[in-house]
Symmetry: C2
Subunit: 454 residues, 2 copies
């Protein structure tokens, strides 16, 4: 093996200069966002009160296939990009699979995950537009950490609402955001009407991304020169993440292979879209037939058990209505450790692509995800984030299928982050305390009652 | 800045194939190790009961300038090496310094520090020699984590004695070692005579590297097919770490510069030697005049306030007597967060080089180290390990001196690891709770009373 290349590296000049906007290539464009009250289709301008203007325009852009990465953003990308593409020889050996397993290692980002790719872009646009304060939510804390560093890099103040269960499970993430200079509040909090409403109704509520988003939006819309930034779900976030897949495409060519399957974990869809869309463009052009697998937690199964409906992105209904696969914005996901996957809805682009059968969702139980994560740690040396464990588990399933079928497929997954700040989750798994959760059909029906059929 | 290169990367084929053994080039060779009882000089064979044979030979090797890196080790190096050399433009800007600051980023190792460079080598040699079980000590946990992964990679069982104060301060490190499959015990423990002796005398003892080493050696020497592995101090460990400096040398050439100062934090000396020795060989050959700065904690100042004497490497006197700068093997360092620097003695090679004035020690207070670490995090995005913060603080001092003097020097420091698992330390710093410690002259004299004048 000594003469085989393990890591495929790109020099700085080959870091992409443009993001890929899959909306331009989609044969059926996503349905429009709707006004929460009037149900009228929205324009980019309608998002300006919440988001910075450039991201609002990117959100609705169905015409420009390539969007320039601003020099200031690309310059900070150079602190960690291009990230390595790695051939997981040791994992292959352990699984005795004829499959070739590659992973894109986004965990080498200084904040430990892919989230920085969009955080830097969003912070930059805010700065350029004269915004001084930014608000956001964070689940497991990966997004909040990334945005905390990005805001610091561009001289912006950041307030983070952190889902309470993660705030308690992951104190190191809170410290990390504070080290970068952000202000962190557990959500639901008493600092917003949205938070107060939840606490009043359910004082022991552990929070959810939906609630935290409501709190962050409320703060943004009631504070001068303040905008809200979201870490997933929206189209512009996935757009920024395509830097992952665009690099991976060049690196797969260096390896002389092309993926048969592209696999990523699925929360709101930005990490999935980030690695998948650049490869999917060749499918859309008819030149490739790659399969795409989105690994979601069995406890929050919007892709496999949700419905395509119009729904709010947050708990309190502050966002526009989004056309998406959803479990309902009032669905309360179980307290799994993969906090970044505890979200009720799927991104708008991905929801449309899923309707057309261009990707496939798979459900992964918590214990299966950590089993795969520990195997990965012991073979490739990297302890994966609980979210990323879902992608690894889906990859292991495929690799074992390849072994059974005697097929040598090429599997590529995105290692979205490392789990060094999630060790309590590994403690639970190793001590056998980890519980699997799957909602009953009744719970899903109850959640969906809050979504809007149009 | 956009067209300037930030990260200097080496392709896999330029990962060094040999380590650099500075002992071959030293004009005055280190004094011999002595038998703890007879005080007779030791040969490599005398170390076989404790260490694997190859490392024992490397320890005493004063003739071979270049030592082959085994293919099996180099192959696993490829999982993370070559590590990037980074130009810290954002840090320079924040300091308004004309200095050019570079850092070698060892924090991208999958276990988060440089320690893996020697762990993989030691585990490989153990495996090759038929060893089945390995013991070690760990302070902050960086070494234990690295060896846990290395032992897993080569199919060896590992027992780790973790200094009690770190065991309590850094539970995630414990989890991490367990995730890699190691057995972890807080030291002092009741599982060894050495540990029992300490607990009997001082039931609330927080432990030290010296005590943990005694426990690990005792277990190794009383267990069949079991060897002890050390993460710093010894010559063979620094030898394996020279892969850092040998890469950095190539990368500085890519950058078209040569360091005026090479800076590293100092615990036992392996991270310092790893980056310094390859550059120092040009000083020894008379072709360069680089300065070398070892940053030690003010609370454990063996380089600046210790004495050059013969002393034991461990608390209980199980090791040979080593000729080194020491505070005495019974010196109890204060409970600083940089657990990896809480060691009473300096490596034998470095001690000899320090006697000859070929490097300089500087003392850094805990608060100064974290102040520099937070600045680094906020400018370069990487939260440094508390140990590495000492190197950064020393670099900041030099950069500010450059600013005062209007000199554009080239500074290179080793970022030995990240601090993502040390966030409680940052919490303490940010909340103003962090205490500075420096031993009194009496404490140092008391410690030195246990060292041996020969």
């Amino acid at each position: 093996m000594t003469n085989k290349t393990k890591r495929f590296l790109l020099p700085e000049e080959r870091i992409p200069t443009q993001w890929y906007n899959i909306q331009a290539d989609m044969p059926v464009k996503p349905q429009p966002f709707l006004h929460p009250k009037t149900h009228e289709p929205l324009q980019a301008e309608d998002l300006f009160p919440i988001f910075n203007e450039e991201c609002s325009r990117q959100e609705m852009d169905c015409t420009h296939r390539w969007i320039e990465i601003p020099d200031e953003v690309r310059d900070l990308y150079k602190q960690y990009r291009a990230t390595p593409l790695v051939r997981a020889y040791e994992l292959e050996k352990a699984l005795q699979t004829p499959a070739h397993i590659y992973f894109k290692n986004e965990s080498v980002s200084p904040v430990g995950s892919h989230k920085l790719n969009s955080a830097l872009a969003q912070a930059y646009y805010c700065k350029r537009e004269g915004v001084t304060n930014v608000t956001t939510e964070t689940g497991a804390g990966q997004w909040g950490t990334a945005l905390a560093y990005a805001c610091r890099a561009f001289g912006l103040e950041l307030a983070v609402y952190m889902v309470k269960v993660s705030f308690m499970q992951k104190p190191y993430r809170r410290s990390l955001m504070q080290t970068f200079g952000a202000q962190v509040t557990a959500s639901p909090s008493m600092s917003t009407r949205a938070g107060k409403d939840v606490i009043t109704a359910a004082p022991t509520c552990n929070g959810s991304l939906g609630i935290a988003i409501s709190e962050a939006i409320e703060l943004a819309t009631t504070t001068p020169h303040c905008k809200y930034a979201l870490g997933s779900v929206l189209n512009h976030v996935a757009l920024h993440q395509t830097v992952i897949g665009l690099e991976a495409e060049q690196q797969m060519e260096m390896a002389g292979e092309w993926p048969d399957k592209v696999i990523a974990c699925f929360g709101g869809g930005s990490n999935f879209g980030g690695i998948a869309f650049p490869f999917m463009r060749h499918n859309l052009a008819g030149s490739r037939q790659t399969e795409f697998i989105a690994a979601e937690p069995a406890s929050c199964p919007k892709l496999t058990r949700g419905k395509f409906m119009y729904d709010f992105g947050d708990e309190s209904g502050y966002t526009p209505l989004l056309p998406m696969y959803t479990l309902g914005h009032e669905f309360q996901p179980a307290n799994i450790h993969a906090g970044g996957l505890r979200y009720h809805g799927a991104g708008v682009i991905i929801s449309q692509l899923l309707r057309e059968g261009r990707l496939r969702g798979v459900d992964i139980e918590q214990n299966e995800s950590f089993k795969a994560g520990v195997l990965f740690a012991r073979t490739e040396g990297i302890v994966p984030a609980p979210e990323s464990c879902h992608a690894i588990a889906a990859t292991v399933r495929e690799a074992l299928r390849c072994r059974e079928e005697g097929r040598s497929e090429v599997l590529l997954f995105n290692l979205s982050g490392h789990g060094l700040i999630d060790m309590t989750a590994y403690d639970s798994y190793l001590s056998g305390d980890l519980v699997d959760f799957a909602p009953s059909d009744e719970e899903i029906e109850r959640g969906l009652a809050g979504a809007v059929s149009l």
